[in-house]
Each structure stands twice: as C-alpha cells, then as structure tokens.
C-alpha cells in the first residue's frame, strides 16, 4: 500500500490543483464528480483529474490518504479542500475563487 500512497502523494504535490474523481473531466461517471468538474471549469482553473475507477488501488488508497471515505476529493497546492458538498458550498458562498487566489492558483474566470 505504501507504493500507492507515494503515487497519490506525488500527484497531490506535483500539481497545483488535483481532483480525484470517478471518470475523467471530459466524461465524469458520477454526478458528484461531475458537479466538481463543472465548478472548476466554470472558474477556469487548470487541474489534473485522476480517475479512481481506473485503478482499484487508487480508489482505496485515496480514502486512506486523507482519511476521507468518499470521492470526489479536491486538493489545492497539496492541501485537501473537500468533497463535492464542500466544494459546492464554498462556490455558492463565493469562497472558492478566493481560496484559489489565496493559494496563488490562477482563476481565468468565466464570471
């Protein structure tokens, strides 16, 4: 399992914004993952999507990595932000854009 933890750790640290999701940004295979994709695309944030359905080890490993039992999971600059509900709440409250800017992630913004 340590191999998969290293892999996840590397993905999280090597990319400013990473979304562990079911499916891909172009073809989400779960409504919750799809909602986060829509929000990130709306804000115009560059991110890497990691499809947990492609590898059972990642699917299990990501739950242990942040002690968070569900997917999707959003990471910004190496820090866990939350799942679908949290991302949506932050977006609706207008906090998500500020969070990205605070972390130095560029938001091209459709808004």
């Amino acid at each position: 399992m340590s191999g998969i933890k290293d892999f996840i750790d590397q993905e999280v640290k090597a990319n400013d914004v990473v979304l562990f999701m079911k499916g891909t940004p172009g073809f989400p295979q779960c409504g919750f993952s799809g909602q986060v994709v829509q929000i990130l695309d709306y804000l115009g944030v560059d991110y890497k999507g990691v499809n947990v359905l492609a590898d059972d080890e990642i699917r299990q490993g990501i739950k242990e990595y942040s002690n968070w039992p569900t997917v999707p999971q959003l990471y910004v600059k190496g820090e866990f932000v939350g799942g679908c509900d949290i991302v949506r709440e932050m977006f609706q409250a207008g906090e998500l854009q500020g969070h990205f800017e605070e972390k130095g992630v560029s938001v091209k913004g459709a808004a």
């Binding site: 939350g82 709440e89 932050m90």
Partner: protein, 95 residues
C-alpha cells in the same frame, strides 16, 4: 423507512443532539447507476442535513469528518454515497 435509514436517523439523534435534521433516501434518483446494479429501490444514496450546536466553530472539513466517522459502518456496509449538509444553529440553511 429501511433499516439503514433507521440506523442513520438513530445515530444522529443520539450522538449529535441536533436542533433539527433530515435523513433523505435519494436512491431513487440514482437508479441505473453503475451499470444498473442499483435499481433505485434500495438504500444506497442518502442526503443528511443536520443542525447541531456541536458544529459551531468547526471547519467544513471537520464537520464532514465527524459525520463520516459517525456513519462509518453504514458507509462500509451498503451506503454508496452520502451527501452531507451540516450547519451550526446560527447559520442560515435553505431547508
């Protein structure tokens, strides 16, 4: 009310002393999900809304962690998705 919904309801009632809460079985909204293995009649998808004093001063992530831990057995044993809407009594909610 199915057995899982009953357990979730009881745990929230007993462990969180909520001022108000709702447990909603949304499984029917996900019928046909995962290649049709979920037919929508089961207890696979829940939405849990809770207003509790213990959430005051807690971050969003910590509130979710508290609920995920409380319902860890249910998540491991049949609940496929858990949408969470925790709030403190001073916060505005739309439900």
């Amino acid at each position: 009310m199915g057995p899982l919904e009953e357990r979730i309801t009881r745990k929230i009632q007993e462990q969180l002393s909520p001022t108000r809460f709702e447990v909603i079985n949304e499984s029917h909204l996900h019928a046909g999900h995962q290649g049709g293995a979920m037919d929508g009649t089961g207890e696979t998808h829940f939405r849990v809304r809770v207003i509790a004093a213990s959430f005051t001063g807690m971050s969003r992530v910590d509130r979710h962690r508290a609920l995920n831990e409380l319902l860890a057995d249910e998540l491991a044993g049949g609940v496929h998705a858990l949408a969470l809407e925790p709030a403190a009594p001073s916060e505005n909610v739309r439900w």
